[in-house]
């Protein structure tokens, strides 16, 4: 538990303080937001993505393959759907814990400008669900832990760099922007950042709808694939 907290909470915090303060001094403001606040709000969403992805890949794989925990559970009246739903909720919960911890620290450091930041909590949870389901899809295909590196490097890292954690996506070339607008982390940040800053959210319905739709579709696929993996 302590080790997991250090990884999911300590690492973003070091980044936030080191880069937010250090680099923030040179950058000043982006879109009228102090860089430290800009970065903190991005990191809340990034942390939710990270925590849910790790849990839904490494931890779920561990329970599914080496520990055979699901086989034991499936000998009881519990079903594959129950297992998948339980894992999703746990991923969302873990995201919520680490996301709100970063929010609390950011607020102590003066990065949170408005009490509306409290509404980021359900969005953090939803973001966790949105990334837990794709993680489960990857896990359903995984043959070894190394397989997750593909997803990490080809999916998660590009999102971390491109989806507006570090700079506004409007800085990106037009075609890249079009692609990035489809990624769930972009939508999560588009809701979380204004809430932390205390400005109105533009296109809330679009962003929220995108997250819900993405989460629902990937959950549906994840259930089908995990079932196929467990019931042969």
């Amino acid at each position: 538990m302590a080790a997991s907290l250090l990884l999911h909470f300590g690492e973003p915090l070091l980044y936030l303080i080191g880069i937010g303060y250090g680099l923030g001094r040179f950058i000043g403001e982006i879109d009228g937001i102090p860089y430290f606040t800009f970065l903190a709000s991005g990191f809340i969403a990034w942390s939710a993505m990270n925590v849910a992805s790790m849990e839904s890949m490494w931890s779920v794989y561990t329970r599914m393959v080496p520990q055979q925990t699901y086989e034991a559970i499936l000998a009881t009246p519990a079903t594959v759907d129950d297992i998948v739903m339980g894992e999703l909720l746990w991923c969302g919960t873990k995201s919520l814990v680490s996301g709100s911890a970063i929010l609390a620290v950011a607020s102590m450091l003066g990065a949170v400008h408005d009490w509306t930041a409290i509404f980021t909590l359900p969005i953090i949870f939803l973001t966790g669900l949105c990334f837990a389901a794709p993680g489960l899809i990857v896990t359903a295909y995984a043959k070894a832990y190394e397989n997750f590196n593909f997803y990490m490097t080809l999916v998660m890292t590009p999102m971390f760099i491109l989806c507006g954690v570090w700079y506004p996506i409007t800085t990106l070339p037009e075609p890249v922007q079009r692609i990035v607008e489809f990624l769930p982390l972009t939508h999560a940040i588009s809701i979380i950042r204004p809430l932390v800053v205390g400005v109105p959210i533009e296109n809330l319905v679009v962003h929220l709808g995108a997250l819900l739709l993405f989460g629902a579709i990937s959950t549906w696929i994840a259930v089908a694939l995990i079932r196929r993996r467990l019931v042969q």
């Binding site: 520990q67 055979q68 009246p77």
Partner: protein, 253 residues
């Protein structure tokens, strides 16, 4: 298939008189499983493994609070209730898995090779537990490669080889039906030479460099065995192992 984890390819599969495809949940509610490989949850303690598992059967906290100490007492793990799974020996883990399979007070208990890989003490402990559970009136379905185990524990034995049913009956009847009453086992290369002048009523079987001489005429068999000088011979009553080998053939398959 009994767990509904691999779909049946054909035929009918009923447990408690109910089709498993239709009534899977209610069948699982009344079934306990001890899988071949232990899959206890290493994230939890001994007692937590039982309480979490009980919650999957929707058992109330109250009923679990009284049931878990009973089960731990039965499998002699009471003093280990707060221990992590990784601190338990293989035999203890198997006993805990057995206790876990009983948490929902099942009518049917399925044991998949329950003593594979255990040392003799641990194996005898599992056997006495199985006897105890049997006396309590539960139906036990046990699969094993270990004929002594089947002979000791089972009322009814089915021998299956490559998916085909070869024989069925009580251990005593199976032995009576398929084997002579006595066997003399002779070991060593020299043993092979004596097969030529064997009395006709004796049946002879070979496995590696061991020779098995079967007969129901105990007296004559022993007399003959004594006449073999300089050879190590072992006389014993025939058992299920002999039935199994006779039906499935000796040698590697």
């Amino acid at each position: 298939m009994l767990l509904g984890q691999s779909p049946r390819s054909g035929g009918v599969l009923e447990i408690f008189g109910k089709d498993i495809n239709v009534h899977l949940k209610s069948i699982r509610q009344k079934t306990g499983i001890v899988p071949q490989a232990d899959n206890l949850d290493p994230d939890f303690t001994v007692a937590e493994n039982l309480s979490i598992y009980g919650s999957y059967f929707r058992l109330s906290r109250k009923s679990l609070a009284s049931r878990i100490p009973e089960l731990l007492e039965m499998v002699q793990l009471s003093d280990r209730a707060e221990c992590r799974i990784s601190t338990l020996s293989g035999g203890m883990q198997r006993r805990l898995t057995l206790a876990r399979a009983l948490v929902n007070d099942p009518k049917l208990l399925v044991l998949d090779e329950p003593t594979t890989g255990l040392d003799p003490q641990a194996r005898h402990m599992i056997w006495s537990l199985v006897h105890q559970i049997k006396r309590s009136g539960k139906t036990i379905l046990l699969t094993t490669h270990y004929m002594e185990e089947a002979e000791r524990l089972c009322d009814e034995v089915i021998i299956i080889d490559h998916g085909r049913l070869l024989a069925q009956g009580s251990p005593v009847n199976l032995i009576k039906e398929h084997c002579e009453t006595d066997v003399v086992e002779i070991r060593g290369e020299v043993a092979l030479a004596i097969t030529r002048d064997l009395p006709e009523s004796f049946r002879c079987d070979r496995s590696g460099d061991s020779l098995y001489i079967y007969s129901s005429d105990t007296f004559r068999l022993l007399e003959w065995a004594e006449s073999l000088q300089g050879l190590t011979s072992l006389h014993r009553k025939t058992g299920l192992e002999d039935v199994f080998l006779r039906l499935t053939g000796r040698g590697l398959r």
